[in-house]
């Protein structure tokens, strides 16, 4: 057996739709012996999390299938999660296989978001594997007639410890393809960290060989017999959130010359299907629709003025000491406002899904971040009970949060339900760029102060932003609903106290979140490192300004004001990697046309720690900033697979450079106008910096997220480097040549 995560369950598609899965293992969801018909995949999930069989199956060939609820998004979490299971069970990576996420098969571990796979999903899997091991050892003990304490395991072979050439038995012979029938109590003893052999090791990713060879099945590759191709028909570029997209008239005769093309409508939703994909594309382009005039958006020009003037719902996020008093006696105070744009997820492949909906069943294959949430939304859209719907996860292209994957799945489902055939929908580039759930714009007003010795005495952060959508464009449009914003509580976005000064020892600190209502703005949702890039851009520039105010080296200034050893650890790791030499920022400005700068910054998302040093080059004539090298360090506790974390650091750095220098959603009073890679440019190959990733390994600490935490640090380091090179603070990103030249011009 291979470690190939693409291995299919042996179901036929027809069986899956009917709900009659092939028998793999006979067990009931209660963990008690069940009738043979109760096969895995037979019934709507989620399966009972309190039984070991939900998580792990041991096969006769001495391999294991692992069932988890976290999606492979290209971050390599599959490999890391298998390592955790392999460690507890003493199985080699080649003996482990991850099972495709499926609402009829895999447990509900919540969404694959907030870098939670290893952080929150890992401990659950570790405990399940420990429970499985305990059960296997008990069986081995009986089989070999030896107490469990005298047994050891290597690659799934249980043997009597110290007995050379002695008695042994394979897991596969103890349990081969039979259920454990063991409760998952969470109390089984786990392997001590000091005996780890697989966790903490940089093993190769299980998904890469197939991806390289062109064998991997992304959701985009799925095709089934009798399938139609579908496309959505939406105005080019979304309009104000809450207004939907209302077609006043649809002229079906406008596509009458396109073979097999037909229009499907549900509520305000308009889509087309055709036998051939190119015909569906042509039909979606050609269909004449008159849309209702939408309410006005602020456009880029008036965005921040409107946000600042909005009647907001305010939340005190942190309030320590007395901030007002702290500022009174301070030796130096720095305060400024910062503007941060809407940015898009914009997966490289526009989202895609395949749906087969019959009168009483539905099978939807999609690249959602949460198969169970996707199922619930599909239930609403289709008007079909959730347990009649089966959602299977197929990887899309890197999504970095809530791109249009639910929309594509819902559109495919609506079309399939209407035409009675399987329908594959792929968004076009303009659909994805124009109808994303964007990372919200952010406005910050930051003020911080130090005493004469350079010790922070007061810190205040006010942030304005709207919240996140809990619905989707297609759902809202098809059901003619206004859309729902999650403005507060779990799953919403407020100013993150972790990213706004929490790394520093400051007696008086106040952080206020000003929630702007999303209606009348663009549709928002979590974008990788949600707003942490904005918070760090604003906060860490303020910190740097205070260092400059007392002519201190910014590294030394941070060390002086940080007490936490883990923050100091990443700070020093990044500085050491960069061979940081003490400097006063902006103190040695050059008259040359091309000048260089170096900056440092800190940032996080939730729990892990990020630090970065950036070297930049700036051309005063063109205004162009080139990031040459970024040294980025992360402490995510126990890094289960340091190579995965290094790779995540590199990806975050490149994406952060892209977002800091280039990315901005453009929109006017009517709607979004940046609809492709020209109007919404991202960092290009020739522009990429070298990246030196540093993993601060802490075997003794719990594993925390590693997918988002150096984005903010990188943005801050770049902004501080720009000041170092030019003597000018950029308080708005992306730091485009026009903005930099304008800021330089304003100084002289």
């Amino acid at each position: 057996m291979t470690t190939d995560i693409q291995n299919e369950l042996p179901f036929s598609r027809r069986d899956m739709l009917k709900g009659g899965g092939a028998l793999i293992i006979a067990f009931s969801l209660s963990g008690l012996p069940g009738p043979a018909s109760a096969a895995r995949g037979d019934a709507a999930g989620p399966p009972d999390p309190n039984t070991v069989d939900t998580w792990i199956a041991i096969h006769a060939d001495n391999t294991a299938s692992v069932y988890f609820g976290k999606c492979e998004l290209g971050q390599g979490n599959t490999t890391g999660l298998l390592q955790i299971v392999g460690e507890e069970l003493d199985l080699d990576m080649s003996q482990l296989k991850a099972v495709r996420l499926d609402t009829n098969v895999t447990p509900d571990q919540g969404a694959t978001s907030s870098s939670s796979s290893i952080h929150r999903g890992g401990p659950q899997l570790r405990a399940a594997a420990a429970e499985a091991r305990q059960a296997l050892m008990q069986r081995a003990s009986v089989r070999l007639g030896v107490q469990t304490g005298s047994l050891a395991v290597s690659e799934g072979v249980v043997f009597v410890d110290g007995e050379a050439g002695g008695r042994s038995v394979k897991y596969g012979d103890l349990l081969g393809d039979k259920p454990f029938n063991v409760k998952f109590t969470g109390t089984a003893p786990q392997k001590p960290v000091n005996r780890y052999a697989l966790v903490g090791k940089s093993v190769s990713r299980v998904d890469i060989p197939d991806k390289v060879a062109g064998r991997y099945e992304h959701v985009h590759h799925l095709r089934v017999p009798n399938m139609l191709h579908g496309r959505v028909v939406l105005p080019r570029g979304q309009r104000a959130f809450g207004a939907g997209a209302k077609p006043l008239s649809v002229d079906e005769s406008s596509i009458k010359d396109i073979p097999t093309a037909r229009v499907v409508r549900k509520g305000d939703f308009v889509g087309v299907v055709a036998e051939q994909e190119w015909d569906a594309i042509k039909a979606a382009r050609a269909l004449k629709v008159t849309w209702q005039e939408p309410p006005a958006l602020p456009g880029n020009a008036d965005l921040f003025t409107k946000m600042r003037a909005e009647k907001t719902t305010d939340t005190v996020i942190a309030d320590w000491g007395d901030a007002a008093k702290g500022f009174e006696g301070a030796a130096h105070v720095r305060s400024s406002a910062y503007r941060c744009p809407y940015q898009g997820h914009l997966p490289f492949a526009p989202n895609c899904a395949l749906a087969e909906v019959t009168a009483d069943r539905a099978l939807i294959q999609s690249s959602t971040q949460d198969v169970y949430t996707a199922r619930n939304m599909l239930s609403t859209v289709l008007g079909m009970p959730a347990e009649k719907i089966r959602v299977q996860y197929y990887e899309g292209s890197g999504t970095f949060g809530r791109s249009c994957y639910e929309d594509a799945a819902q559109a495919a489902a609506i079309l399939s339900q209407a035409v009675g055939r399987p329908v594959r929908v792929q968004y076009m580039r303009w659909d994805e760029h124009g109808w994303d759930n964007y990372g919200p714009a952010h406005l910050a007003e930051v003020r911080a102060a130090i005493d004469a010795d350079g010790k922070l005495v007061a810190y205040e952060y006010h942030g304005w932003q709207h919240g996140w959508t809990v619905t989707s464009s297609v759902l809202d449009i098809a059901l003619q609903k206004a859309g729902i914003e999650r403005a507060s509580g779990s799953g919403s976005i407020t100013v993150n106290p972790m990213s706004t000064g929490s790394m520093y020892q400051v007696a008086n600190r106040r952080v206020i979140s000003h929630a702007v209502p999303m209606v009348g703005y663009l549709r928002g949702a979590a974008l990788r490192s949600p707003l942490d890039l904005s918070f760090a851009f604003a906060s860490e520039q303020t910190i740097d300004e205070l260092a400059t105010a007392v002519k201190m080296d910014p590294l030394e200034f941070r060390r002086k004001n940080i007490g936490d050893k883990r923050w100091l650890g990443v700070l020093n790791a990044a500085a050491d990697a960069a061979k940081w030499q003490p400097r006063v920022m902006g103190a040695s400005l050059s008259n040359a046309e091309v000048v260089t700068g170096r900056g440092i910054g800190l940032g996080t998302h939730h729990v892990s720690y990020g630090a970065a040093v950036a070297d930049i080059e700036f051309n005063k004539r063109t205004g162009n900033i080139v990031v040459k090298h970024v040294y980025a360090a992360m402490d995510c506790g126990l890094a289960v697979n340091p190579a995965l974390v290094e790779n995540q650091i590199e990806g975050q750095v490149i994406q952060s450079v892209s977002r800091t220098l280039k990315e901005e959603v453009l929109f006017d009073k009517t709607g979004v106008t940046s609809l492709d890679w020209v109007s919404y440019p991202i960092l290009r190959f020739a522009e990429h910096p070298d990246v030196t990733p540093v993993v601060v390994q802490r075997m003794e600490e719990p594993s925390t997220g590693a997918g988002e935490e150096v984005m903010g640090a990188t943005a801050a380091a770049i902004a501080n480097a720009v000041f170092d090179a030019t003597g000018v603070r950029l308080r708005e990103y992306p730091m485009t040549p026009e903005r930099v030249l304008a800021a330089l011009g304003a100084r002289t």
């Binding site: 060989p209 390289v212 062109g214 790779n647 990429h688």
Partner: protein
């Protein structure tokens, strides 16, 4: 049908039933069921649909299938065989050296852009077996990656270059 359009893909002659104006990409994906070339933008801006036509990289999303009739197309699937042909090897390797380098360097995240990265990188190495950093950057600049894997694509191209130089000796 006798008057079907014929194209040659990875050494195989195939008849195309799509209309002549259909972009090549949709023929490769839907008729030939190839997984290499894939849709990314449909605007020739990103490079996910890249294939080689007589050894030169083109964007199949904006190239009508009729334009490549009679020409020799190579997709990701055919790269190892093309490499063997270019190098005069008796047998095609399982992977092009650049593909192996992508595995060795663990370059990919989601991997969606790697059809284009592989095609374009292989084109570079066939034209210029020992490219400089600046030449790699310039040659690859039309290929976007959203996950941020440019540094490892760069590294893999250099690793593959060294490997190919070794094989040539």
């Amino acid at each position: 049908m006798a008057d079907d359009l014929k194209i040659k893909v990875n050494g195989r002659d195939v008849s195309v039933s799509a209309s002549p104006d259909t972009p090549l990409l949709y023929v490769l994906m839907n008729e030939l069921r190839l997984k290499g070339p894939r849709f990314g933008c449909g605007l020739a801006q990103c490079g996910s649909c890249s294939v080689l036509v007589d050894g030169v990289e083109i964007r199949s999303c904006v190239t009508a299938v009729s334009q490549v009739a009679g020409k020799s197309l190579t997709t990701l699937e055919g790269l190892p065989a093309l490499y063997a042909q270019q190098k005069g090897l008796a047998q095609a390797p399982a992977l092009h050296p650049l593909q192996q380098a992508f595995i060795d360097e663990q370059s990919l995240h989601c991997g969606y852009c790697y059809n284009g990265m592989t095609i374009k990188g292989a084109e570079l190495l066939s034209q210029n077996p020992k490219p400089t950093d600046a030449q790699i950057r310039a040659h690859m600049d039309g290929h976007l990656c959203r996950c941020g894997t440019y540094p490892r694509v760069m590294k893999a191209i250099k690793v593959a270059s060294a490997k190919i130089a070794g094989e040539t000796r």
